[in-house]
């Protein structure tokens, strides 16, 4: 989903930066609030952020003869919400722009909006909808992760259709459909695998540190205890 340097018109680069910056600043404020209230949230932030670093570095082949990256943002969206996730994504995207030329600096705002804000926001909304239902938390993590991933690429398609320096096809709608064909459909199998892997990671967090998930009100004590019994096979 990296929009390369120079591929978005300057006006659209500014628009996406204006949207991204307040979200990142609010994320810093929320992060300070959470870590001041509970220092034990830091290792969880490390795990969720570490997976964004790790998974977004992997280039996986797709059944369409192309390759793409997972985003790894679903777990962070569940545990810390989209605002804090936007900080981690901005750091990852800055690393990739500076050292890998994957994504640009002028397009960093647009890439942060797709991967760090809207993708996780979609995931977070699904998590809130499923949180108090009878659906298993591992299924919830799977669904949230997969949707956060695919929606990131849908947003990228939209951003390119709106503001690419040269349109892919005649008009915005047909350009959007063209980009969607390249990005979003190829992403579906990767999103499914990412969802299963992060559900497994969440299982290990439930087994090792269930109390932090309860203290941060990510899931209720009863739900976590049920998930822990499932994970332990008891």
């Amino acid at each position: 989903m990296h929009i390369m340097e120079g591929y978005l018109s300057p006006q659209w680069c500014i628009v996406w930066w204006i949207i991204a910056l307040p979200c990142i600043l609010f994320g810093i404020y929320r992060l300070k609030q959470i870590t001041n209230a509970d220092r034990e949230a830091l290792p969880l932030l490390g795990v969720t952020g570490g997976f964004i670093f790790f998974l977004s570095s992997l280039k996986l082949p797709t059944p369409f003869g192309s390759s793409s990256h997972p985003t790894g943002t679903g777990l962070s969206a569940i545990c810390f919400g989209p605002w804090i996730t936007s900080i981690v994504c901005a750091i990852v995207l800055l690393f990739q722009a500076l050292f890998l030329a994957h994504g640009g600096l002028s397009t960093l705002g647009a890439n942060t909006v797709s991967m760090g804000i809207i993708g996780p926001f979609v995931g977070y909304t699904i998590y809130r909808l499923l949180k108090n239902t009878s659906i298993s938390i591992y299924t919830t993590v799977f669904i949230v992760t997969a949707f956060a991933d695919v929606s990131t690429y849908i947003v990228t398609s939209f951003q390119l259709a709106l503001g690419a320096v040269q349109p892919a096809t005649g008009d915005i709608v047909s350009s959007f459909i063209w980009y969607l064909g390249i990005f979003a459909f190829a992403q579906i199998p990767i999103a499914i695998v990412e969802g299963i892997v992060l559900a497994l990671v969440f299982k290990y967090i439930v087994q090792l540190k269930p109390d932090i998930l309860i203290r941060l009100h990510i899931f209720s004590e009863e739900t976590i205890n049920t998930a822990k019994r499932d994970a332990d096979g008891s």
Binding site: M4, Y7, A101, G104, V193
Partner: protein
């Protein structure tokens, strides 16, 4: 049965990786010319009108350092994965240490 239930997510991950691998091999077989190029590069090539996005037919707004070879790019991607892996390992190690103390 209880054992299988305990490890059902692990089994699912292994199954997903196997299916993913088979899909990749099948695609390689039926699409003889498949280069598995990055979707970013495919989109960039379409925008720039050039089949090779690395030709940089579009002028960058902010000058950017580009890895001089694909090997160096791979090393830097590996570094990124290693940073993530170290943080994850550190946090899980901390939790395991805490659990052992109790």
């Amino acid at each position: 049965m209880q054992m299988a239930r305990k490890y059902n997510l692990e089994i699912l991950v292994v199954a997903a990786i196997i299916v993913f691998g088979i899909l990749f091999l099948y695609t390689s077989l039926i699409m003889k010319n498949a280069e598995f190029a990055g979707t970013d590069d495919i989109a960039a090539a379409k925008i720039s009108g050039s089949p090779n996005a690395s030709l940089q037919t579009i002028k960058p707004l902010i000058p950017q350092w580009v890895p001089p070879s694909t090997e160096i790019e791979s090393i830097l991607f590996g570094l990124q994965a290693a940073i993530g892996g170290m943080i994850i390992g550190g946090a899980f190690g901390y939790w395991i240490g805490q659990k052992k103390k109790v």
